[in-house]
Amino acid sequence: MNIFVKFDFNAVCEQILREKLEQLGVPYSIVGFGEVSFSKKLSDEKRNEFEVALAAYGIEIVEDQKSILVQKIKDAIIEMISADEGEINVKSSVYLADKLEHSYGYLSNLFSEVTYTSIENFIIIQKIEYAKRLIIKSDMTLTEIAFKLSYSSVAHLSTQFKNTTGITPSAFQRIIEKRRALSDLNN
């Protein structure tokens, strides 16, 4: 038997962050996702202590401004993809430029420089990953999934899926099902 759980990553991370900040015992406020503001400059010992406490959770303190902005771009994209239909009705370039208050050209160059991939590519990968999750976990049809992810048609989703992964959505579904059957057999 399998049970699926869904995580709210933002909530999980924020909770960990709050706990560790409380332990640190310095006045702070959490400004946005992944951004903490301290009213006084942290001493080196405190900063170190904070870094070590977070490391256990795979959370690291990001040093440079470029990486921070790239992380904001990624967060905005993921938020955009998981938004409900009709909630965001501008092009992704316009959405990102507005939200992050930089020109799209600047964001796009920076993103490619740091991540080895383009924003467009990142959006496609994220959308296809989301489609995979929906194919596996939900009883939505491909038509419904295509609509939810704002593809103009099922054919468009299937083509992009095939171009990105090399396999069709139905082959993907079949492989995952066979894998499960195999691991049930072994357990």
Binding site: S67, F122, I125, E129, R133, T165, L182
Partner: protein, 148 residues
């Protein structure tokens, strides 16, 4: 982030293929460290050593003497120590049956050995870039299937 490198291992009994493979990575702009082994036995000896440094991506040729890629894949999938390694099958075979079977057995990537060096570079760069996305963005590796 750019100072990191990606650790890659290839097991392939064909010397030319190993050479093309390492040359292709040398020419990519992504920092990589590539180790090669001549067959499945050598590979598994390395991986099973308690102090081995595990790669992020492991490329397996299917047809190798002594121990085939498929046997390696099954051993690797049975050991939780190796659960974070992305497995790429690197083979001359393109039979649908082989491909689907390796995916079902837990491979993440299937690459048919390209016919020329330029295509090889392109394919390897694609693999590394997508693997990097999975690695840095916390995507679910169980859903990582890629066929080139």
């Amino acid at each position: 982030m750019n100072t990191d490198y990606i650790h890659i291992i290839l097991a392939d009994d064909d010397e030319d293929d190993r050479l093309f493979f390492t040359d292709a990575f040398d020419e990519l702009k992504i920092n990589t460290k590539v180790q090669t082994y001549n067959d499945g036995v050598e590979l598994m000896d390395y991986l099973n050593a308690p102090d081995s440094v595990l790669p992020q991506v492991l490329f397996l040729d299917l047809n190798m003497p002594r121990k085939s890629g498929m046997e390696c894949l099954e051993e690797i999938k049975a050991d939780t120590r190796f659960k974070d390694i992305a497995i790429a099958i690197y083979s001359t075979s393109a039979s649908e049956e082989d491909i689907e079977n390796t995916f079902v057995q837990g491979a993440n990537i299937y690459i048919k050995k390209p016919s020329d060096f330029k295509k090889l570079k392109k394919a390897l760069s694609q693999v590394v870039t997508i693997n990097w996305q999975y690695h840095t963005n916390g995507l679910n590796k169980d859903n990582f299937l890629l066929r080139l």
